[in-house]
């Protein structure tokens, strides 16, 4: 049919390496998400309850993360910080870029979640004798968690997909490793086709496990 011979054998030979790189992809994405959730929570609370420089810092973070390309953010952590003599390793560049981006997007989701819980509930729990901490951890956070659960899942998928940009800053996660092998064997199409399948599988596993977890978490 085509005037082209597909060679899948080199790809199959390096499949173990690709899968190992896939675990690196997953690792950096999970780490960025954990950091992103913590920072995003702080940013959301800062934008909701604080005034002054902290508010502006949080707002600037969120707007920059949401309104510039993820690749630009990676370049910034890669070359931009180099201007100040700060040279990060490719791993740190990707981790910092992903965390910056995820924190910004998640902060907006969290802010929406906090806003959706009526303030009267906090007052009610306070008048029942709960401390502010108890009111937050027992009343507000469980409701917010339910609201932001699906956005967090989506963001996790995005984090995996975005980590593929590591290829452009020399990080050898799944995409970077694929490019490395592809340029060594010139079997570019074959390698990237297999990588696409691996990404697809990772995303499907994330979505499926998220759905199973949701079924257990939100039973009532």
């Amino acid at each position: 049919m085509f005037d082209y011979n597909f060679h899948w054998r080199p790809v199959m030979k390096s499949l173990p390496d690709l899968l190992e790189a896939a675990s690196l992809t997953l690792q950096v994405a999970v780490l960025a998400m954990v950091l992103g959730i913590v920072i995003g929570l702080c940013l959301a609370l800062a934008r909701l309850h604080l005034r002054g420089p902290v508010y502006w810092f949080a707002t600037a973070w969120v707007e920059l993360a949401r309104n510039t390309p993820a690749l630009f953010q990676l370049f910034f952590f890669g070359f931009g910080l180099g201007a100040f003599g700060l040279h990060l390793s490719p791993y740190l560049i990707v981790l910092a870029g992903l965390t910056f981006n995820c924190a910004g997007y998640l902060a907006e989701n969290f802010r929406g979640g906090f806003k959706a819980v009526p303030e009267t509930q906090i007052r009610a729990s306070r008048s029942l004798g709960m401390t502010p901490w108890q009111a937050y951890s027992r009343v507000v956070i469980p409701q917010v968690f339910r609201i932001v659960y699906h956005p967090i899942t989506n963001q996790m998928v995005w984090a995996v997909l975005m980590s593929s940009l590591g290829m452009l800053v020399g990080f050898r996660e799944l995409s970077g490793e694929t490019q490395f092998f592809a340029s060594r064997t010139f079997r570019i199409f074959e390698y990237f086709a297999v990588t696409a399948v691996i990404y697809y599988a990772i995303v499907k596993v994330i979505l499926l496990s998220s759905r199973l977890m949701a079924a257990r978490l939100f039973r009532y």
Binding site: T68, F75, F79, F192, Y199
Partner: protein, 220 residues
């Protein structure tokens, strides 16, 4: 005359032209693929809505692939696949094709949501006023459903505009690629990245703010 050879040269005024030119290319590929992708995506969304089971079994999984594989992998894959089937596409054409399909895959869901947002009673009312199926779509579903999902469409469009930076992997010199080239020559990463980032931000921020404003106004 100084007998030294200078390897790097500073940022010159005509480099601004170079960047402006690249910014226009970013704009051009974004506008082209967003408009084509929106038309195609609306069509897909309508098919998903009307085709029920047939579309859920055939079209939905295909569109799902484009949402579950990193854009950068899609670009490399398509760019290397086109010659296999005898197409000779330059980076711009390949980038436009993939960005268009990617947009369409995202818009399809938005469009289906829009059609679903128009209640069945209203559509039945339109039909019983004597409107044909197409009149109902054109004069009832489009204005009402379109308004309901306009903010999410803006989100998709801005996302694609930012993701158009990835076409640089194919060698298309858009804004971020141009910045990279200039950084290599001038060794002034911070200034150049700040300029590029400011362009994206200036494009994306007002539009997203305007969409939020419209969303709030229409919600009342």
């Amino acid at each position: 005359m100084e007998p030294t050879l200078k390897f790097f040269s500073g940022f010159a005024p005509n480099d601004l032209w170079f960047m402006g030119d690249a910014a226009l290319r970013t704009l051009w590929i974004s506008v082209l693929s967003i408009s084509l992708g929106t038309v195609l995506g609306t069509l897909f969304g309508w098919m998903l809505y009307e085709g029920r089971r047939a579309a859920t079994l055939t079209l939905a999984p295909v569109l799902d692939v484009f949402r579950s594989v990193p854009l950068i992998i899609q670009l490399v894959l398509f760019y290397n696949f086109a010659p296999i089937v005898g197409l000779n596409l330059d980076p711009f054409a390949s980038g436009t094709v993939i960005l268009t399909v990617y947009t369409a895959a995202l818009v399809a869901n938005v469009a289906r949501g829009g059609i679903e947002a128009v209640g069945a009673p209203m559509r039945r009312a339109a039909r019983s006023l004597g409107m044909s199926y197409w009149q109902d779509l054109r004069h009832v579903v489009l204005p009402i459903g379109g308004r309901a999902v306009f903010p999410s469409w803006v989100g998709v469009a801005l996302g694609v505009m930012k993701d158009s930076a990835l076409v640089s992997v194919l060698g298309y010199v858009e804004l971020l690629k141009a910045s990279q080239i200039l950084i290599t020559r001038t060794q002034e990463p911070f200034l150049i990245l700040a300029l590029a980032g400011a362009f994206y931000f200036a494009l994306s921020y007002p539009v997203s703010r305007y969409a939020t404003h419209l969303e709030n106004r229409w919600a009342q």
